[in-house]
C-alpha cells in the first residue's frame, strides 16, 4: 500500500493547488471556532467546502474535515452543525477530538467516517482501540510524543489506521492537553482553535534590541535589525535558575521525510503535513516533494533527502519524538 499523503488547505485555492500537486487527501475546516486553525482569513464557508470536495473527488482525491476543538458548554449546536454540514458537503471523513462530539457523530451520522484528531492525544493501543470500540473510529492521528518503534508496536495491536505528522510546525506538548496559550492570552487551541494568537503579539524596540511579547510577556529578544522570531509560547526563550534559553523547544520545525521508510515499515497508513495557515505556493511545493518521495519509496528508490530544507522555519528542523533522544 502506498502511504497516503494528507495535505493541509486553509483556503479553496490551496485545496486546488494541493490536489493538482498530487495530494491523495486534503484536510481543512470551516471558518469558525470548530477547528484548531481558526485564524483570520482562513478556512472554508459551507459552499466552498462543497465545491472543494467536488473538485477533489473529480481528481481522485479525498477531503477530511477537521472539527477538532472542544465544543463550548452551552454552544454545542455549532459543532453539531459542522459535522452535519461536513457530511452534506460530501466529506470523506471528519476529524474529531471531543468525546461528546464523537458520540454525537457516531449516533447521528453513522455513515460518516470518523478519524481521531491529534487533539485527543490517544498515545497507546489501549486508548486507540477504546476509541475504535466506543465510537467506530477508523483512523487515529498519533500524538507527537511517540518514537517510530512505539508506532510500530501500536500498529501491531490495533486495526485502527494510523496517521502521523511528517512535516511542518511542531507542538512539543501533547496536543489537546495544553493551556499555555490561554494562560498567557486567554485563547487556547482547545477552546478557540488558536495558539499564541497574533492579536496578542507585540514587538518592542528598546536599547538596541527587539523584544517579542505574547500577552505582555517577553519571550524573545534579538539585536535590532535581526529578524524577530514569532513568539510561539513553547518555543520562546525563558530563564530558570541560572539558565537562559529555549527551555522547552528550539525554534525548529518537524521534518521526518528521512524517516519515511521506517514509518512505512512501522505500518503507518498516512503521512500528515501541518500548515493550514501556509500559502498556496508552500503547500504546492511540500506536496510535490512528499508525493515524489512516496512514489520513490513505492518504486524501491531512495527517498531524496533535504529537499524541503528551504521551506522550514529558519532552516532548523528536527525529527521530534520519532527519535527517542528528543525526549
Amino acid at each position: 500500500m502506498v502511504m497516503e499523503i494528507v495535505c493541509p488547505a486553509g483556503t479553496p485555492a490551496a485545496l486546488r493547488t494541493a490536489v493538482q500537486a498530487g495530494a491523495h487527501t486534503i484536510y481543512c475546516g470551516f471558518a469558525d471556532e470548530t477547528n484548531a486553525r481558526n485564524f483570520p482569513g482562513l478556512n472554508f464557508s459551507r459552499e466552498e467546502m462543497a465545491e472543494g470536495v467536488a473538485f477533489a473527488h473529480a481528481h481522485g482525491a479525498k477531503v477530511l474535515v477537521a472539527i477538532n476543538t472542544f465544543p463550548r458548554a452551552g454552544a454545542e449546536t455549532l459543532w453539531h452543525a459542522a459535522v452535519a454540514d461536513a457530511e452534506a458537503a460530501g466529506a470523506d471523513a471528519v476529524i474529531l477530538a471531543d468525546l461528546g462530539l464523537l458520540a454525537h457523530a457516531a449516533r447521528h451520522h453513522p455513515g460518516l467516517r470518523r478519524h481521531l484528531s491529534v487533539q485527543a492525544a490517544a498515545a497507546n493501543a489501549d486508548a486507540i482501540n477504546f476509541y475504535g470500540r466506543e465510537f467506530g473510529v477508523r483512523r487515529v492521528v498519533l500524538p507527537r510524543v511517540l518514537s517510530v518503534s512505539e508506532i510500530a508496536a501500536i500498529n501491531a495491536e490495533t486495526g485502527v489506521e494510523t496517521e502521523v505528522f511528517v512535516f511542518g510546525g511542531l507542538c512539543v506538548m501533547a496536543e489537546g492537553r495544553c493551556s499555555l496559550s490561554s494562560w498567557a492570552t486567554g485563547e487556547s487551541p482547545n477552546m478557540n482553535g488558536v495558539c499564541s494568537p497574533a492579536s496578542h503579539v507585540k514587538y518592542r524596540e528598546e536599547g538596541g534590541a527587539l523584544s517579542s511579547t505574547l500577552g505582555g510577556f517577553t519571550i524573545n529578544r534579538v539585536a535590532a535589525g535581526k529578524p524577530a522570531p514569532y513568539p510561539t509560547l513553547c518555543k520562546g526563550v525563558f530563564r530558570a535558575g541560572t539558565a537562559e534559553g529555549h527551555l522547552f523547544e528550539d525554534p525548529v520545525s518537524l521534518d521526518a521525510a528521512a524517516l519515511m521508510p521506517a514509518l512505512r515499515d512501522a505500518g503507518v497508513t498516512a503521512l500528515k503535513i501541518e500548515g493550514r495557515q501556509r500559502s498556496r505556493a508552500y503547500v504546492g511545493q511540500v506536496v510535490r516533494a512528499f508525493r515524489a518521495a512516496v512514489d520513490a519509496l513505492e518504486a524501491g528508490r531512495e527517498v531524496p533527502s533535504g529537499l524541503l530544507t528551504r521551506l522550514t522555519e529558519g532552516g532548523a528542523t528536527t525529527t521530534g519524538a520519532y527519535k527517542k533522544t528528543w525526549r
Binding site: 472542544f70 465544543p71 463550548r72 458548554a73 452551552g74 454545542e76 471531543d98 468525546l99 461528546g100 462530539l101 458520540a103 492525544a121 498515545a123 497507546n124 493501543a125 489501549d126 486508548a127 482501540n129 477504546f130 476509541y131 500524538p143 507527537r144 510524543v145 511517540l146 512505539e150 512539543v172 506538548m173 501533547a174 489537546g176 492537553r177 495544553c178 493551556s179 499555555l180 490561554s182 494562560w183 498567557a184 492570552t185 486567554g186 482547545n190 477552546m191 523584544s211 500577552g215 510577556f217 517577553t218 519571550i219 513553547c234 520562546g236 526563550v237 525563558f238 530563564r239 530558570a240 535558575g241 539558565a243 537562559e244 527551555l247 522547552f248 519524538a321 527517542k324 528528543w326 525526549r327
Partner: protein
C-alpha cells in the same frame, strides 16, 4: 462544598511523601486522590508505601481514590494503568487509557486532565459510570455553571480546581532533563531538587511557569478563593487543593475556614499568598481575560 486533595504532582523523597500523607490524615479535607500522575519513573520510589497511606487516610475517614498517569505511552505504563483498574480502589481517570480498562458500568471519577468542556462529553462519561468530574482548570466560570447544572441531572458531582499551580501542559519530553543536558531515559531524576517545580521566568524576569519533569505548571498558584460563593451557587460539590511541599496543613485549614464561612475571600487570599511558592495567586481562567490574571476579589 467539600475539599479534595489532588494527587501530588511533584517528585519528593519517600520519607517526605509519607510524612505529607501522614499529616494529611489529620487535615480537614473529605477526599484524597493519590498515586503517580506525572512520571512513571517516580512511582517505584514510594509505591511500597502507598497501601499504608491509603489505609491510614481511609481510617481517618477520608474517601480515597487512586489516579492514573496523565500520559500513558510505555509498556510498563500501560501495565500499571491496567492494574490500577484491578486494585479495587476508586480510580481517578486522568488519561482515557484508564477508562479503557474499567469494566462497563463500574464507577469512576474523572480528573482535571481529561477534557470535559461540554454537556455532551459530561453526559457520555456519566453514562459510562462517572460519578464525579473535576473540570479542566482552563474553563471559565460560565462554562463551570453550565456544566454543574447539567451534572446535577446526571447525578454527577462537579469539582473545580481550587488551589495549586495549574497543570498547563504535559509532554513526551522531560524539561528538567533537557535543562540538565540529559534525555528523559537518562534523566538521573533532575526534578528531585524542585519539590514545587522549578520556576520559569520571562526575559523581563517575571515568574511565568514552573517546570515539573514532563509537566508544565503555572508559576502562580491558581486560586478560586474569591469565587467560592459563585461556585457554591452553581452547585459545585467540591474544590480541589493540589499539594505543595511546605505549609500545606495550613493551606487546608485556611480553605476549610473559607468554605465554612469563617474567613472571607480577602483574608483567605492574604493568608494563602504568604504560603504559596512564589507568593502569587491567579484566577484568570475563571473570571479574567487571561489565566494569569488575578481578580483580587473584584466582581466577575
Amino acid at each position: 462544598m467539600e475539599l479534595t486533595v489532588g494527587p501530588n504532582p511533584f517528585f519528593w523523597s519517600a520519607d517526605d511523601w509519607q510524612s505529607f500523607y501522614d499529616r494529611l490524615a489529620e487535615a480537614p479535607v473529605a477526599r484524597v486522590v493519590l498515586g503517580e500522575l506525572v512520571c512513571s519513573k517516580r512511582l517505584p520510589f514510594y509505591a511500597a508505601r502507598l497501601p499504608a497511606a491509603v489505609e491510614r487516610l481511609t481510617a481517618a475517614g477520608k474517601t480515597v481514590a487512586l489516579t492514573s498517569l496523565a500520559l500513558v505511552t510505555l509498556p510498563r505504563e500501560r501495565k500499571a494503568t491496567a492494574e490500577l483498574a484491578e486494585a479495587g480502589a476508586e480510580v481517578e481517570v486522568n488519561d482515557l487509557t484508564a477508562l479503557s480498562h474499567l469494566p462497563e458500568g463500574a464507577g469512576f471519577t474523572v480528573g482535571p486532565l481529561v477534557n470535559v468542556y461540554n454537556e455532551g462529553t459530561l453526559a457520555w462519561l456519566a453514562a459510562r459510570g462517572a460519578t464525579r468530574i473535576c473540570l479542566p482548570p482552563e474553563l471559565p466560570l460560565a462554562s463551570v455553571e453550565t456544566l454543574a447544572r447539567a451534572a446535577a441531572g446526571h447525578g454527577v458531582a462537579i469539582e473545580v480546581w481550587g488551589h495549586g499551580r495549574a497543570p498547563l501542559a504535559i509532554s513526551g519530553r522531560c524539561y528538567h532533563a533537557r535543562l540538565h543536558g540529559r534525555a528523559k531515559d537518562n534523566c538521573l531524576f533532575a526534578c528531585e531538587d524542585d519539590p514545587d517545580g522549578l520556576e520559569v521566568r520571562t526575559l523581563d524576569d517575571t515568574a511565568f511557569l514552573a517546570m515539573n519533569g514532563v509537566q508544565t505548571l503555572s508559576a502562580a498558584t491558581l486560586s478560586a478563593v474569591h469565587q467560592v460563593e459563585a461556585l457554591k451557587a452553581a452547585g459545585v460539590a467540591s474544590l480541589r487543593l493540589s499539594p505543595q511541599s511546605q505549609g500545606f496543613d495550613e493551606v487546608c485549614r485556611i480553605w476549610h475556614a473559607r468554605l465554612a464561612g469563617g474567613m472571607d475571600g480577602e483574608a483567605a487570599a492574604g493568608a494563602l499568598e504568604a504560603l504559596v511558592p512564589g507568593g502569587r495567586l491567579a484566577d484568570g481562567f475563571l473570571t479574567g481575560a487571561r489565566g494569569t490574571d488575578w481578580s483580587a476579589g473584584a466582581p466577575a
